[in-house]
């Protein structure tokens, strides 16, 4: 089963070393171009399938400006067979839907049975391009996949649900899967492979070449627009109540231990292990919906 992996080169804010709050404390060197780790996990999953079935061909596809080459060349170094770049300078103005439409237009040129991508990108955290591409191509998709197994054209996956639960789902190809970052540990490309990858010719397409006459591709197809970026509000810290009755030496000792204030209210701090304490524990436990489990009798 041939595979296409959708790869995004993200511009990730790996640190905030600046001093200007108006610029969200972003300093030079804070924004780094890198292959989206979730997409890297998707590619690794494809490579593991190829390790088992050697005739599998893996193509990687990216939409973006010149920096998209970063992810594509890394993918080639990791073991992808070929790479396609939809070169689009206005790509920052393209939201998930516009991006998905363009990717789908490229994917329609070949009927690939399996499309993989990461469940989200670490810069926009939208998690939408995968599902949108599947809908554009009218193929079934499963998101948040933590395990993939192929057998005779049937795709078996394990999908992450809330609270640690898992769903076992089956579908037939063609299909699209979005994978979780921790589905595997991606292989490191070797130095020779990275150097070899620099020489590979990447197929480059433009939006104009892909645009059918009846639809819009590109920034004009976006239905959302990011208008502002701000820093998260600092979490409300519980008020430090300075106890005036302790000596400076004791206060120093307290602060060195990492604290500085005694418990906020006497009523929320209980003492000992008498039945009133046990009952209070039980009450709080039940108020969270937690109860004693039925233990199987041995």
């Amino acid at each position: 089963m041939n595979i296409v992996v959708l790869v995004k080169t993200v511009r990730f804010l790996q640190a905030q070393t600046g001093s200007n709050p108006k610029e969200n404390y972003i300093g030079p060197g804070d924004l780094v171009d890198m292959m989206n780790p979730f997409d890297e996990a998707a590619l690794e999953e494809a490579l593991r399938i190829k390790d088992e079935q050697r005739e599998t061909e893996i193509a990687v596809l990216s939409l973006g400006g010149p920096s998209a080459e970063t992810g594509l060349r890394r993918s080639l170094a990791m073991g992808a067979d070929r790479a396609t770049h939809i070169l689009c300078d206005g790509h920052e103005g393209m939201d998930s839907l516009a991006t998905a439409r363009a990717l789908a237009a490229a994917l329609r040129r070949e009927q690939t049975p399996l499309i993989l991508c990461g469940s989200e990108a670490i810069d926009d955290n939208a998690g939408l391009v995968g599902p949108y591409v599947a809908e554009c191509l009218n193929v079934p998709h499963v998101a948040h996949v933590v395990k993939v197994e192929l057998s005779d054209g049937t795709i078996h996956v394990e999908r992450r649900l809330d609270r640690g639960d898992r769903a076992l789902i089956e579908c037939t190809a063609p299909a699209l899967l979005t994978v979780e970052r921790d589905i595997n540990v991606a292989r490191m490309p070797t130095m020779p492979a990275m150097m070899q990858a620099r020489k590979v010719v990447i197929e480059t397409l433009t939006l104009e070449e892909l645009t059918p006459t009846d639809t819009q591709l590109g920034p004009a197809a976006s239905l959302t627009k990011t208008t502002r970026l701000s820093n998260p509000k600092a979490k409300r810290r519980s008020e430090k109540q300075l106890n005036p009755t302790i000596s400076p030496a004791e206060r120093m000792k307290l602060m060195m231990k990492g604290g500085g204030a005694p418990a906020k209210e006497a009523s929320s701090l209980m003492e000992g292990d008498a039945s009133n304490v046990l009952q209070a524990f039980e009450r709080v436990m039940h108020s969270c919906g937690v109860s004693v489990r039925d233990t199987p009798s041995d």
Binding site: D165, T224, N231, P232, A263, L269, V292
Partner: protein, 334 residues
């Protein structure tokens, strides 16, 4: 163009009840429908659940849409999406909201792509003004983005459950109109087949996904005492985690470390046993909804930000607590 200013909320079942987040989600929907000047409607797909009409009505909704086909007993994202699309195309509400739960996050992108509507996921806030804008965490939490919808049509959003304010008191006892959705499910193709649902095993689940966590620290003493905590965790269906010293001394594996250099957990209940509460540890439990701490030192910083603090020797408290809980569980059962 939206046909109305109505706000619609997609509800989810949880076994035979409404999901725990339902009231908070409905209250947010009510707040937003007041802001848009429209009405609040709710949708529940699947068999009846306990207290459905009361809960929805009490939150100020005008209408409840239902589809009771047996095929919806196990929530199917494909069927749910198809039904939501039918409704959205017919009534064109201003806002269609869902929780950013695994079902909500699965259903909404399918709807958005199908009806060509903007969708913003994991919203911290929805702002209604001249246009509708959404706030969400980006850059993996380092920044917040304000995203404006570029359309006057229906807008979709999934709401981050941790950011939803607590449910308020019942709003109204308005008569709730219940409408059956007129659609035959046999026309809707289902290309995904769910063969099994595997419930999380607290013994093996990743502590970041665990609903309940018992975290142990230096206060538990030597490693021989671990058994007692494993039994306690098993009793309340909790996963075990630990502070850094406990991992460093080999009592627990490193995947169980809670803290700044370990894993950040967000259980609905965290029981902190013999943990002093240094900043490096508490960074890992900031998102825990309810915290109980047990420590012999009443000035331990862990007590600063917990819902219940108990000054006691955790090694003598835990066996007594297990006895107490077991006895009461038997009483309730008999």
């Amino acid at each position: 163009m939206a046909r109305s200013n109505d706000v619609w909320v997609f509800l989810e079942p949880e076994d035979d009840r409404l999901a725990a987040h339902t009231e908070r989600l409905l209250h947010e929907g009510k707040r937003l429908s007041d802001a848009t000047g429209g009405n609040l409607s709710a949708i529940l797909l699947g068999p009846d659940v306990a207290k459905l009409n009361e809960t929805v009505g009490a939150c100020g909704a005008e209408r409840l849409y239902r589809h009771r086909d047996a095929r919806l007993a196990r929530p199917s994202p494909e069927l749910c999406a198809a039904l939501l699309c039918t409704l959205a195309r017919k009534y064109r509400p201003r806002l269609l909201l869902a929780a950013a739960s695994s079902l909500g996050s699965d259903v909404m992108p399918r709807v958005a792509a199908s009806i060509d509507a903007p969708l913003v996921t994991n919203c911290l806030e929805v702002q209604v003004g001249d246009e509708i804008a959404f706030k969400k965490a980006v850059q993996s939490g380092r920044l917040q983005a304000t995203i404006a919808a570029q359309t006057r049509g229906t807008c979709l959003a999934t709401l981050d459950l941790d950011a939803l304010p607590a449910a308020e008191a019942a709003v109204s006892s308005k008569a709730l109109e219940v409408c059956e959705i007129d659609a035959t499910l046999t026309d809707i193709p289902e290309r995904l087949r769910v063969t099994d649902i595997i419930k999380a095993d607290p013994k093996t689940v990743d502590i970041r996904e665990a609903e309940v966590v018992v975290a142990i620290g230096n206060g538990i003493g030597p490693r021989e005492n671990l058994d007692a905590y494993e039994n306690f965790a098993a009793l309340i269906g909790a996963a075990i985690g630990g502070s850094r010293p406990v991992i460093d001394s080999g009592i627990l594996a490193h995947e169980r470390q809670v803290g700044q250099t370990g894993r950040k957990i967000s259980p609905k209940l965290a029981v902190l046993c013999g943990i002093s509460g240094s900043e490096y540890f508490t960074k890992g439990i900031e998102q825990a909804r309810t915290k109980i701490a047990i420590n012999t030192d009443r000035s331990a910083p862990i007590f600063k930000d917990v819902d219940l603090g108990i000054v006691a020797d955790v090694n003598t408290l835990i066996p007594k607590l297990m006895d107490h809980l077991n006895r009461h569980a038997k009483d309730d059962a008999s």
